[in-house]
Symmetry: C2
Subunit: 126 residues, 2 copies
């Protein structure tokens, strides 16, 4: 059973965190989704934390967890913080394959998405 | 003359900031780019700051600057910090139209991009 665990940074603004839950729900219902379950977790400032997100996937029966950093740049969070947390979590689940995925910003189609999105009116303009 | 100013968060890790400059360069050379100039700036932790990015666009002749938050979630940075900075900057350039764009994460194709990207091997695995 294969799980996708989306890791977002986390915000003090609850509406921002709810966007991540909403994204997970959109992915569950996406026609191209082939994950058995999809959960989300936060690096900081919001719950669930990453270890709790992994625990949730395992408790639902996952034996493979793809950990996806929903981050744009390969800053310290992506290159150090998330890998370190996973290194701490893995020994708790020796029977589970916990794999760190490429982060979102590494997508080669990002420039296309920027050009598609830039210039559309902000939903919350200044 | 229409400019696109990409606003990223900024990181203490210089390689992460350089990814934003590289994205701007990819966009300049993109076949679907119809901006006369494309620059990037950072909310914090890196240079140039947003006011300096706007100044650079104007100094190159822009009379319209589309400010694009390269952010995934509508946290405080997108809903408060960037709009406030633009409100402070606009009076300096009364002849320039400075428009805040939708942020990247608001794109309706984000779920597709997540499914395309998740599961690809991390370039810097743990």
């Amino acid at each position: 059973m294969k799980a996708l665990l989306i890791i977002a940074h986390g915000s003090r603004r609850q509406a921002s965190n709810q966007e991540v839950s909403a994204l997970a729900e959109q992915l569950r219902q996406h026609p191209h989704n082939d994950y058995d379950l999809i959960e989300s977790a936060f690096l900081e400032l919001a719950e669930p934390a990453i270890p709790d997100g992994v625990a949730e996937c395992v408790s639902q029966g996952a034996n493979e967890v793809i950990v996806f950093p929903y981050f744009l740049n390969s800053g310290r969070h992506v290159t150090e913080d998330i890998p370190e947390i996973l290194d701490q979590v893995r020994p708790q689940y020796p029977e589970v394959c916990i794999v760190l995925s490429q982060h979102l910003g590494a997508s080669p189609v990002m420039p296309d998405l920027v050009l598609q999105t830039a210039g559309k009116a902000a939903i919350n303009p200044a």
